[in-house]
Point group: C2
Chain length 221, copies 2
DNA sequence: GGTAAGCGGAGCGGGGACCTCCGCTTGACT
DNA sequence: AGTCAAGCGGAGGTCCCCGCTCCGCTTACC
């Protein structure tokens, strides 16, 4: 009697195989967060405690493994934009978006690479959606008279990128340095002459800067 | 009768050799400016119209060739700081330094790599000298009451770096985009509530941004 | 206990960068 | 004009990194 044929996707993996698959995904998630999109397959496999061969049996290629993890990151980012746009006070919403999206990119190198480096239709679509959301927020803030009128929604992403570059340079030496410049820039964005917001973080002095520069590697070609 | 012995450095090069040496230096200068410190020896030689062998006969190694060109760049940068510090109006001096040092790093990728990436005692010393000069300028600006008092000299270099990162991302698509954020940041630095300076440059819109991102390669590991 | 599924990791192929080697060319000096 | 050291080009050696494959051994499952 014929056994019910199973397509490969239906037949469950052997227990050890499934466990290794999960380990690989977890390892990739972790390394993507820490080191960005250009982790190697060997790194992911080794960090997961399995051989490279095992990695390639589960995922046809490095790209397939990485793409399997992209969507969850993009979803988080979009959720952030939606949350900011939903804020009652549009200025608060704007500040929250700039601050949290920078923080997110600083904490997750892979997300930053994705948003700035990757050629992928999904990512372009996400950028468009986020910009649409931000457009509404910026318009509201402008109408409320708190935002200088010549600032546009496309400025928001650029500012987050700019701040995350500060974080790149400061690295582990001063991972929160970018917040200092966040405040400077926000004070430049605001309309009122209400005076300066106190800067939240000390500068990076000479000796710290030297350490940061020593550790910094400008990113790939 | 013994010929006057010549040390290798005294004996003049044959005319063609000297000409090729000059071509190599010119080629390296050009490529350093355009592409940064990680130009390869093959590129320099080829761009000079000579073979690699010739390049290595004149310069013991890639590093030797590049280091031969570093000092002239650092000198330019220091001159900039001195000029800014010499301005009658300290605010103007500060603006001029941020603007011109960013412009310089945008125009000269090699200088930016040098200032941010390179481990070299000379560079660290230069940074120290520049910061000393800026310290005086910042103090004068603060005393004049135009600069928010919590800004320090180390902020100045960081801001220039931040702006030049914008230029990196915008690339050839919008090489002057950074000036927009320069104004935003300067408005954040200024004390008076005199209102916002008009932004000098349009934002980078969606389609431009996509083009810029397509062309952008995050820098080397 | 039999067997297909799974495993690890040495190693292949390809690319890039630095640098060397050597047979040919050329400037300089008689 | 002839000699020849100095100079030249660029193929290719070496090394390293990365994606991916292959195959002899191990293990989960029935």
């Amino acid at each position: 009697m014929a056994v019910q044929p199973l397509t490969p996707s239906e037949r469950p993996l052997r227990r050890d195989a499934e466990r290794n698959r999960q380990r690989l995904l977890a390892s990739a998630r972790e390394l993507l967060t820490e080191r960005g999109l250009d982790v190697t397959m060997d790194e992911v496999a080794h960090h997961a405690g399995v051989g490279v061969g095992t990695a390639y049996r589960r995922f046809a290629s490095r790209d397939e493994l990485i793409e399997a993890l992209i969507d969850e990151r993009l979803a988080d980012f979009l959720a952030l934009a939606d949350a900011a746009a939903g804020a009652a006070d549009p200025w608060e919403g704007l500040v929250s978006f700039v601050e949290r999206s920078t923080a997110m990119q600083v904490a997750d190198r892979g997300l930053k690479d994705l948003l700035t480096g990757h050629q992928l239709a999904r990512v372009a679509r996400l950028r468009a959606r986020v910009n649409a959301v931000l457009g509404g927020l910026v318009a509201r803030a402008r109408e409320a008279g708190v935002l200088r009128p010549d600032v546009e929604e496309h400025d928001v992403g650029m500012i987050a990128f700019m701040l995350s570059s500060v974080a790149d340079l400061a690295g582990d030496v001063r991972p929160d340095l970018w917040r200092r410049y966040l405040v400077l820039v926000l004070d430049g964005l605001r309309v009122d002459g209400a005076g300066a917001t106190p800067l939240p973080v000390p500068v990076m002095g000479t000796e710290e800067a030297e350490r940061a520069l020593a550790a910094w590697r400008p990113r790939r070609r």
